[in-house]
Every structure is written in structure tokens, then in C-alpha cells.
């Protein structure tokens, strides 16, 4: 008689990897929507482009590795990587930027390390850093937030900008601000201004800081925060890494701000500028490349927060999450090794 034999437990929670990934993507929707609102439809174009390239690249590599394609494609992890990379790229960046970035993320950073669960580095962030170092001009040219733009870009103009059928002069018109300077992110602006000898107050009086934070960035960060809180509620992610990042970044920036308010960005600006919230809830929480134990995750998050603060304040780059996450990725196995929970029945302190 052929019986169904199986090892215990026979019950299983219904949560699957693909469900986890899908929920993460769903929770990113408010942030993506806010980003599209403030920076134009280009954000969505970049996402679409990245997702298509990511799926194609993953399928191709799986075929080369002679692995089953469908089960892996359908786990949604490649889609999530593509989205996280696409939202980090300037919305009107040329198409090849996101294509190169996505290919790099999926093929080199993820699949060549063995695919899902095997990669050491966060694929989206590794690709971002690669693009930032290789194409610094394209990667730092953000479009003017639509609310303050004199002539906002519509869909056809965006497509023209992305797919290269727009002349450089024309393109510049959308990138240049009031003062005729290339538009940068608020954090970039602050950094440049501080380098020029302006005080923090003077810098923050610029139109891009109209509401005390960078225009648009505050709301984008708020939207990602909301999505992140939903994920916490759904137990898609655990709170430890996000809390570590936000906590340490807050403490560090408060400390700096109290010491020297003229040369340091305040803690709230730090938290609601740039990539803080999306990184804290969507990027750094990638379980594959993070530490695994609870204490380890707190340390992992705190490490990212400190690194972000240090690079933002003292480093050469306006934003630092990609670097901070990659550096913390490197430390994750080390953290895991030294931060083991005390097993039941094993006494502490001996």
C-alpha cells in the first residue's frame, strides 16, 4: 500500500514567499504614487521598463542555469528589485540607465551569486551604486518637482526625454531650476550650499525647501512611511531594522544639529528627505541580505543609520543609503555570527 508519507509538521501557514513579495510591492504603491505626483509620470515609465528587463533577465539566466523558470519568476522578487531600483533613478534619466542597472542587479548581483536567498548584496542598491559611480551626471539630474515647474512635462515629453529623442537644450529646460542651475535633490542642494559657505538657514530658504523640507520629498517619504507601517501591521516585515535605522539616524542628526545648527541638517529633514523612508522600510529590510536575529537586526539597522548620517554629513555624496546598505550587507554575516540569541536552557554569562 502506498501511503502518503510526510514529515511533521503537517500543518503549514499559508504565507508564501511570493505573497510576502507581493505585499511588499503593494505597500510601496503609496510612495510610488506620491513620487509620480511630484516628479512626473517618468517614475512609472522607469518602473515599467525596469520590471520588464528584470523578468527577461531573470528568465534568461535561469534558462542558462537550467533551472525551472516559472516558479522563480513568479516569486515576485525580481519585480520588487526592479521597482526599488527604478524609483531610485531620476525619472527622466535615459532609458539605458535603468536597463543597465536592472541587468546588473538581476544577473550579476542576484543570479550569479545563486539566485534568491544567496546574494550577499542588496541587488537594487548594488546596481544603484554602480550607476552612480559610472554615470554620475545622469544619476543626479532630477527633474524639477512638478508643483514648482514652470512648464511641467506631460507623458509624451517624458517619453521623449527617456528614450532620447529630445535635444539636450530642451532637456535642460526641464532640469534647470529658477537660478539656472541643474536641479538636484534637496540634500544635494544643502551640501552644495554648505560648501559655498551659505548657512543652513540660507539654504533652506531656497524655493526647493518651500515647506521646510524638500518640495515633494517630505510627502514621498510620508507615503513610504505609511506603506512601511502597513507592512509592519501585516507582519510582512519586522520592526527591528527600520527602527534601528530611523532611531540611529535621528539620534546622530539631533546630536549634530544641537552642536552646530548652522552646518547640520535637522533630524526631521534627515528623516524625511531623500531615500530615508523607502530605504528604512523597503530596501534595508530585504531579509536575504540583512542580519537574521532580532538583536542582530537592530544592530544592522543602527549601523545603516549611522553610516547614512556620516556619509550625508561628511561624505562626498548627497545621499548615502545605497552605500550604507551595502556596507551593512557586508557586516551582516559578521553580526549574525556574534549576535546569536541565547538558546533555551543555556545560561548567560558563562
Amino acid at each position: 500500500m502506498a501511503f502518503k508519507l510526510a514529515s511533521s509538521p503537517h500543518l503549514k501557514v499559508k504565507l508564501q514567499t511570493q505573497t510576502v513579495m507581493r505585499r511588499v510591492i503593494m505597500c510601496a504603491i503609496p510612495g510610488i504614487a506620491a513620487q509620480s505626483y511630484f516628479f512626473g509620470i517618468g517614475v512609472l515609465v522607469q518602473i515599467l521598463l525596469a520590471v520588464i528587463v528584470a523578468l527577461a533577465a531573470e528568465a534568461a539566466v535561469l534558462a542558462l542555469r537550467k533551472r525551472a523558470i516559472m516558479p522563480t519568476i513568479s516569486d515576485n522578487s525580481a519585480v520588487l528589485t526592479a521597482i526599488l531600483l527604478a524609483v531610485a533613478i531620476p525619472p527622466i534619466a535615459p532609458w539605458w540607465l535603468v536597463v543597465i542597472g536592472t541587468l546588473f542587479a538581476i544577473v550579476l548581483v542576484k543570479q550569479l551569486y545563486g539566485g534568491l536567498g544567496q546574494n550577499i548584496f542588496n541587488p537594487a542598491m548594488a546596481a544603484y551604486v554602480m550607476l552612480l559611480i559610472s554615470f554620475p551626471v545622469q544619476m543626479t539630474s532630477w527633474s524639477i518637482p512638478t508643483v514648482i515647474a514652470q512648464n511641467p512635462m506631460d507623458i509624451s515629453l517624458t517619453l521623449q526625454a527617456i528614450f532620447g529623442s529630445m535635444s539636450a537644450e530642451q532637456l535642460n529646460q526641464y532640469k534647470l531650476g529658477f537660478d539656472g542651475l541643474a536641479m538636484a535633490t534637496p540634500l544635494d542642494t544643502v551640501k552644495t550650499d554648505l560648501a559655498l559657505g551659505l548657512t543652513m538657514t540660507e539654504s533652506l530658504s531656497k524655493p526647493i525647501f518651500s515647506d521646510g523640507f524638500g518640495i515633494g520629498w517630505f510627502w514621498v517619504n510620508m507615503a513610504y512611511l505609511v506603506g512601511g507601517l502597513v507592512m509592519l501591521k501585516l507582519k510582512v516585515i519586522r520592526w527591528h531594522i527600520s527602527a534601528g535605522i530611523i532611531g540611529s539616524l535621528f539620534i546622530c542628526s539631533s546630536f549634530g544639529y544641537l552642536l552646530s545648527p548652522d552646518t547640520h541638517v535637522g533630524p526631521l529633514v534627515q528623516l524625511f528627505s531623500g531615500a530615508t523612508m523607502i530605504a528604512a522600510f523597503f530596501i534595508a529590510t530585504d531579509p536575504v541580505t540583512a542580519a537574521t536575529s532580532i538583536r542582530g537586526r537592530l544592530i544592522f539597522g543602527a549601523l545603516i543609520g549611522v553610516l547614512v548620517y556620516v556619509i550625508r554629513t561628511f561624505g562626498g555624496y548627497p545621499d548615502a543609503f545605497a552605500f550604507a546598505v551595502l556596507l551593512a550587507n557586508l557586516c551582516a554575516p559578521f553580526i549574525d555570527y556574534y549576535v546569536k540569541p541565547r538558546t533555551y536552557g543555556h545560561r548567560t554569562g558563562n
Binding site: 514529515s7 509538521p9 503537517h10
Partner: protein
């Protein structure tokens, strides 16, 4: 700061880490009262129980009654198994067991007669001593009914003081409701059982812990407690929040006391004892009613069960009988049949397996309840398993190392502390069967540890042996040095003629070795010696013919050639033995009768041993014959190398201003020859100078096969030597003083020869040349001792003979090296 007992009295609960909340699904089976399952036609009772082994107390075709023990035993850990009904034992044979593997275990098969006639039981009265109660519990075969089936009487005889007894009514696994129903319906009996436990253990507190998803059971127990003798403040009912696996012993202790059972220890170390409610019921049944444990409550549940509920089921009832009687919607081929709950239960490979003492649930899920296992996906290190793990392990690291078979690393993550509760697998979004990996890793580690233990032991033994051999070697060297000094001191004046004589003998030997010409004219060599030598040679040749040694030499390394070589040696040894025996007999005859007559006992016997010198020659010839045999094995041996070596040693000895040159030279020659032989056989292809160096082959290089055997043999040889030496002494006393000294030394030589013979054959047999040489040395020195009472002349002779013996021993060693 409150003490633990005060906190317990307050009802304080602690938090256990991890755990999951699977759907409880208990209402499926806990709505009806416990039913009685009809008797099966036949019962299968595995005879092996947790605990110690027992003796079979019944035989095939014997009629047994309900409650009759099928085994007997006297040890403390013995836990009997009883016939669940009356009937006839039809077979005692291995049957598929109630185990995930379905492994067959020896079982009694009882064909029920339907009468259900019970064995006569004594109604126990209240005036029992604790020891008597424990005996009753043991004889009733009561084992932990929570699932582990550990003999209860062992648990109730703790070595240390127990302060807290926990009665486990948690029943945290989904589906199972047997304890729930038992508590609802038999709370008084359970409390009576708890009272017995209290009497036996005298704990300070007793906690009856029940999960808060069983309010009816809590009420019933509380009600029963209020009216029982236990209602004096030491016993309390505690409701525990529902969470799996709160019912695990370690988790329950943590929840109720905040303490953790140390890794690898048992709760008794914390002064705690955990017993299941059903066990308490069974204890009462045994002590108050004299009933052996022959039935238990089993939850039959799952959507494939037509009549889910709880039933009194006779232990030994085949699962098939339950399915047939209660109705099974599924089909055996496609649907899982699970013994135990869905979290820790095992699927059953064979439904003829019986219900056991620890079987609390028969789960018959349909495919909508428990999905087929899906393919494992990659671990995304989400850490949900670590959150769920009640043992605070890092399951994904354990999985990582277990899958990679890095078991040492898995062990370093405390794999052995895994309780296999299944929480990690339950929450895993990648559908990884984590617990399965841990089970495999655990058993692999167990196997590895076992092997390592054995290897360590072997290493220890080997090192001890090396040390012993080294010590023996040192002792031997010291002894040899001492003997040499003694010899030096006792030696008389030198004699150049003796040297010349020795040289002549060497030449004679060489000639004999070559086998081309008769011994040159020499005052020792006479016709009889030649005849003896020829006979010996013939024998050696015969032995050589029997086993083609030349072929053996050609294929030294191949096994059959080895065998041949060995055979040849054995044959040679036999031949030598015969020759020696005859010689010895002849010598004895000469000693006792003083006549020179031929001993006709053996066909091989040489002519009468009237001349002592002839015998010496014969002995030499035998040695030569032996060497010839050895040489036959090594046809490539360069003769000139031998000559060179001999000459060297001879000159060296000549240069020495020793006193007794004759003896020394003879000894040196013998040694040189033996060494040379050792060198040659050890390395036939080596040039002569290398050979000359090779004489210092260390004993360590000889790989000893069986030193014990060798030692025994050596001991035997020594004993013989002693005996012979004594005989020799005696014969000296017995013999008329007129007899020539040479004749007196005869038995000594014989003794030496025989001893050597014995030793050599032992060497061949045991392959341990080191010990054998040692024993040869020992016997030689014994003989030397006995010879020391003789005259200097006799001593000389004895020494020569001893040296020959030594040389032969060395030669044998060389042969062994060659073989290896």
C-alpha cells in the same frame, strides 16, 4: 522579591519565547463523550517498551486473560505490557510498528476470544507503603500517556527532592482533545491520581496546567479540586494562554515558573516533575482498582473520519480496526493517516500497526485540511522561523548548515536543543521542511559522535601500545647492556686459535650455504654432520618445493604469494621442528643412557648422536638449511655482500681484545648473518653498503598485527625455556660426573633450540617479531642463567647456542619484514 512559590500561588505566568497559533480545530472531536471502541478481532502488542528489556512470559497458543502481563522483568526500568483482552496468542513475531518508518518490532499477536475475561485483581486498600504503590504502578505498566511513553514509576522515583509537580493538561496540539474530554468526564479520578503522586513525591506545590481554550475542562477540574482532599492550598489549577507548543515540558516549565530546564538536563534538576493528566488517571486506575494499563483515550478526528470523537481504545488495537469501525472517508493510498497531532505526529506507513500507550490521536485529514507538501523554495532568511522557535534557536542557520552537511557547525548552533516542535516549518514562507533537515542532521551527528568515540578509544590504545613497546625496548637494551658487561667481566683469557676456528666455521657455513661443495676439512666437520646437514637441507628443499618460494619472491606484494611464502615458512618450521625433536631425543638418550645408539623412532633421524660435535654441526647445518630456505625466497641475494659483511664483522671482532674470542666471534658471526639476512630480505635490490646499514632496522617499523597473541606465545616460550633449563640443571645433577662437560651442555642446547624453535614458530604465527624477539632474548637469558652454574667451557657452548637462537629469532623477524 517574591519567592517562586509565592509567585506560583499568585498565579504569575511567564512568557515563553516563540510559538505559533495554528488553527485549533478541536471542536471537531470534543463535542461528544468518550465512546468505547468495540474489541478488535486480534491485537498486536509490541514487546519492546521504553525502558529496560524484558523477558517473554508467554508462549504461542497460550491463552491469556485481560490484564495478564506478557513479559516479566526484575530490573528497575522494566515496564510490562499486558494483554488487553482475553484470547490466544497466535504468534510472536516482528510486526510493523507504530512508527514513522514502520520498522518491524517483535510483537505478540493475540486472537481475541470475545469473552474479555480479566485476570483476577486484588483490590488495593489504602494502607500501602510508597514502595508498594510504586511497585503497583510499575506492574500496571503505566507509561507517560502524553506521547513519550516513558515509564512512570521511574519518574516517580526521583533521585532529588521535587518541590513542584506540574500536571500537564495543556494539550496544545491542534485537533487533539483526548485529555480535554478526560478532564471533563473523569476529573475526580484524575485528582485521585494526583493525590497518589502527591503522596509519593510530597511536593510543595502541584499545578494542574490547562490551556485557556478548554474552559469546560478547567471548570470540571476546579470543581473536582474543590471537593477533593487536595484542596488545601498546595494544589491549584492554572489556565495558560493558548499557544503551541506550551504543552512541551520545557515550555510549560518556563511559562509556569520562568525557569529554563538546563540544556541536556531533566526537570528534576530544577526540582520539578511533569506528568500528563491521563497518566494521573491511569495511576489512580492501577492503585485504586488494580487495573493494568490496557486501554487509553484516543482522539479520532479529521475530515476523513466519519465519526470523529474520543474513544477508549485497547492498547494493541490495529489502526485498521479503528478505521473500519469508525468509518474512514479517504482512501488509504492517497490520504495521510497521522498518529499524533498535525504538528508533531508522524504519518503511518502501515495501518496494521497498533495503538500504543503514547498514541493520543489518530488524525485522518482530507486534502483540504492538510495540503500536499509543496516543493521547497530558496530560504530568503526572513527570520520568521527564529521568531517562532520556542527554543530560541536560529533555524535558518541550522538549516543552512544541515543542508550543507556541515554538522559540526549545525551543532555549534545548538541543534541538539531543537525539540522538533515544527514551529519553524509551520511559518516558513519557502515551504522548507526544516524539522526534517534537523532530524537528518541530528542522526548524522549521533553517528559521527559514535564513530569518533571509537576512533578516540583506538587511538588511546594505540598510543598506550607504542609507549609500552618503547618501554620494553629500553628495558631490553638496558638488560642487554648489563648482560654484556657481565659477560665481559666473566670472560677468561683469549685464544687466537678460537678465532681461526671460528673463521673456518664461517667458511664452512658459507660453503654449506652455497650448497656446491662439502664442508672443508675441519676438525668439527665429520661425515655425520654432513649427513645431518644434507637431511636438513633436503627437508628445507622439500618445504621449498611444497610452496614455490621463488614465485613468492617475485610477487612479494601480492596476497597469494604472501600466503605461499607463509606456507613455506610454516612448512620449513615444521621440518625444523621435527629435526630438532629428533636431535633432542637423541641427545636425551645420550644423556640418560650414556650410550651412543641410533634412535629409530623417526625416519628423519640422523645416525646416532654419539658425537656431541656432530650435533653441534647438525644444529649449524639446520641453521644453514633455514637460511637456504630464506635464500630461496631471495635468489637475488649477492653472495659477495654476505662475505663482505661477514668479513667485516669478523675483523671487527678480531680487533677487539676480548677474552673469550671464540664465543664472541661465533656470536658476532651469528649476529652478522642474522642482520645481513634481515637486511637482504628487507631490501633485496639494495646495494651491499645499504644492506650493511640496514641491520639497524628499528623494531618500530615492524607493524604488529596481534601483539596479544604474540605475548601469549612469548610467555609460553619463556615458560618452556624455564622448564627446559630446569631440566637441564636436573640432568646435570643426575648425570655422572664422569660424563664429559660437552655432554652436560647437551640438554641446554636442546632447550635453547626448542625454545628458539617455539619462539620462531610463534613469530611466524603472530607476526609480532618485536615481542617474539624479546621472548627469545628472555629465554636465552634464562638459559644463560642456568648455564652459569656450569663450567666456563659449558658456558661458552651455551652462549654459542644462545647466540644462534638469537640470530634465528632475528632472521625470523627479517622474514616477517619481508612479508610485510
Amino acid at each position: 522579591m517574591l519567592t517562586l512559590l509565592e509567585q506560583i500561588d499568585k498565579g504569575t505566568l511567564w512568557r515563553a519565547h516563540g510559538g505559533v497559533h495554528p488553527p485549533e480545530l478541536k471542536s471537531l472531536s470534543n463535542q461528544t463523550t468518550i465512546g468505547q471502541l468495540p474489541l478488535a478481532k486480534h491485537f498486536v502488542l509490541p514487546l519492546t517498551q521504553v525502558g529496560d528489556s524484558a523477558l517473554l512470559a508467554v508462549e504461542v497458543n497460550q491463552r491469556v486473560l485481560k490484564g495478564q502481563s506478557l513479559t516479566s522483568g526484575t530490573s528497575f526500568a522494566y515496564c510490562p505490557v499486558h494483554a488487553p483482552t482475553s484470547g490466544t496468542i497466535t504468534a510472536i513475531k516482528p510486526m510493523p510498528s507504530n512508527h514513522a518508518s514502520g520498522i518491524e518490532v517483535l510483537s505478540c499477536i493475540i486472537e481475541a476470544d470475545g469473552l474479555d475475561e480479566a485476570i483476577k485483581t486484588d483490590a488495593h486498600h489504602a494502607e500501602l507503603s510508597n514502595q508498594e504503590i510504586l511497585k503497583i504502578i510499575q506492574q500496571a505498566g503505566i507509561a507517560g500517556l502524553g506521547g513519550a511513553a516513558f515509564p512512570t514509576h521511574i519518574k516517580l522515583s526521583p533521585a532529588s527532592e521535587i518541590e513542584l509537580v506540574i500536571i500537564n493538561g495543556i494539550e496544545c496540539e491542534p485537533y487533539i482533545t483526548s485529555d480535554d474530554r478526560l478532564m471533563r468526564e473523569h476529573s475526580d479520578e484524575i485528582l485521585a491520581g494526583v493525590a497518589i503522586i502527591q503522596r509519593l513525591i510530597s511536593p510543595k506545590r502541584i499545578i494542574i496546567a490547562i490551556e485557556d481554550n478548554k474552559p469546560e475542562a478547567i471548570d470540571a477540574m476546579q470543581h473536582a479540586l474543590n471537593s477533593s482532599t487536595l484542596a488545601n492550598g498546595t494544589t491549584r489549577i492554572t489556565a495558560v494562554p493558548t499557544k503551541y507548543p506550551s504543552g512541551g515540558e520545557k515550555q510549560l516549565i518556563q511559562i509556569l515558573t520562568g525557569q529554563e530546564v538546563p540544556s541536556g538536563a531533566i526537570p528534576a534538576q530544577l526540582g520539578m516533575l511533569v506528568q500528563n493528566v491521563a497518566t494521573a488517571y491511569a495511576i489512580n486506575d492501577a492503585v485504586a482498582n488494580g487495573q493494568a494499563l490496557t486501554q487509553r483515550v484516543v482522539t479520532v478526528t479529521g475530515l476523513n473520519s466519519q465519526t470523529p470523537g474520543n474513544y477508549w481504545v485497547q492498547i494493541g488495537t490495529p489502526v485498521k480496526h479503528i478505521l473500519d469501525t469508525l468509518g474512514f472517508n479517504g482512501n488509504v493510498a492517497n490520504d495521510k493517516i497521522i498518529i499524533g497531532g498535525p504538528m508533531m505526529g508522524h504519518s503511518l506507513p502501515d495501518i496494521s500497526a497498533p495503538v500504543l500507550k503514547g498514541t493520543n490521536c489518530l488524525l485522518l485529514p482530507d486534502s483540504s485540511e492538510i495540503a500536499d507538501s509543496v516543493a521547497e523554495k530558496p530560504c530568503i532568511r526572513c527570520g520568521e522561523c527564529a521568531v517562532a522557535c520556542p527554543a530560541l534557536l536560529l533555524p535558518q542557520q541550522l538549516f543552512w548548515h544541515s543542508k550543507a552537511e556541515e554538522y559540526d557547525k549545525a551543532a555549534s548552533f545548538n541543534l541538539h536543543d531543537c525539540i522538533e516542535c515544527g514551529c519553524c516549518s509551520y511559518v516558513c514562507p519557502s515551504d522548507i521542511p526544516l524539522v526534517e533537515y534537523y532530524r537528518i542532521a541530528k542522526s548524522a551527528i549521533r553517528t559521527q559522535n559514535e564513530e569518533k568515540k571509537q576512533a578516540d578509544f583506538a587511538k588511546l590504545r594505540f598510543e598506550a601500545r607504542l609507549k609500552r613497546l618503547e618501554d620494553e625496548k629500553l628495558a631490553r637494551e638496558a638488560k642487554a647492556k648489563e648482560a654484556a658487561e657481565r659477560r665481559k667481566g666473566s670472560m677468561s683469557s683469549g685464544d687466537k686459535n678460537a678465532v681461526a676456528e671460528a673463521m673456518a666455521r664461517i667458511k664452512a657455513k658459507k660453503a654449506a650455504e652455497a650448497g656446491t661443495e662439502p664442508a672443508p676439512s675441519n676438525d668439527i666437520a665429520d661425515k655425520k654432520a654432513q649427513i645431518a646437514a644434507a637431511l636438513a637441507r633436503a627437508k628445507a628443499k622439500k618445504a621449498g618445493a611444497a610452496a614455490p618460494t621463488s614465485e613468492a619472491a617475485a610477487n612479494k606484494e601480492s596476497a597469494p604469494a604472501d600466503a605461499n611464502d607463509k606456507k613455506a615458512q610454516v612448512a620449513a618450521a615444521i621440518a625444523r621442528a621435527k629435526a630438532k625433536k629428533d636431535a633432542a631425543k637423541a641427545a636425551n638418550t645420550a644423556n640418560t643412557s650414556g650410550q651412543s645408539e641410533t634412535d629409530a623412532v623417526s625416519a628423519n633421524t640422523a645416525p646416532a648422536a654419539d658425537d656431541k660435535k656432530a650435533k653441534v654441526a647438525a644444529a649449524i647445518a639446520r641453521a644453514k638449511a633455514k637460511k637456504d630456505a630464506a635464500k630461496a625466497g631471495n635468489p637475488a641475494t649477492p653472495d659477495d655482500a654476505i662475505a663482505q659483511s661477514e668479513a667485516d664483522s669478523a675483523t671487527a671482532d678480531k680487533a677487539q681484545s676480548a677474552d673469550d674470542k671464540k664465543a664472541k666471534v661465533a656470536a658476532a658471526v651469528a649476529r652478522a648473518k642474522a642482520k645481513k639476512q634481515a637486511a637482504l630480505t628487507g631490501n633485496t635490490a639494495a646495494p651491499a653498503d645499504v644492506i650493511a646499514e640496514a641491520d639497524a632496522v628499528p623494531a618500530e617499523t615492524v607493524s604488529a598485527a596481534d601483539d596479544k597473541k604474540a605475548k601469549v606465545a612469548a610467555a609460553v616460550a619463556r615458560a618452556k625455556a624455564k622448564k627446559l633449563a630446569e631440566k637441564a640443571k636436573q640432568s646435570i645433577q643426575d648425570t655422572d660426573m664422569a660424563i664429559e662437560p660437552e655432554t652436560v651442555s647437551e640438554p641446554i642446547e636442546t632447550a635453547i633450540s626448542e625454545t628458539r624453535q617455539e619462539t620462531v614458530s610463534n613469530i611466524v604465527n603472530t607476526k609480532d617479531s618485536t615481542d617474539a624477539e624479546n621472548s627469545a632474548d628472555a629465554s636465552v637469558s634464562l638459559v644463560e642463567e642456568s648455564a652459569s652454574i656450569l663450567t666456563a667451557e659449558q658456558q661458552k657452548k651455551a652462549r654459542i647456542a644462545a647466540t644462534i637462537a638469537k640470530a634465528k629469532a632475528k632472521k625470523a623477524q627479517a622474514k616477517l619484514q619481508e612479508k610485510e
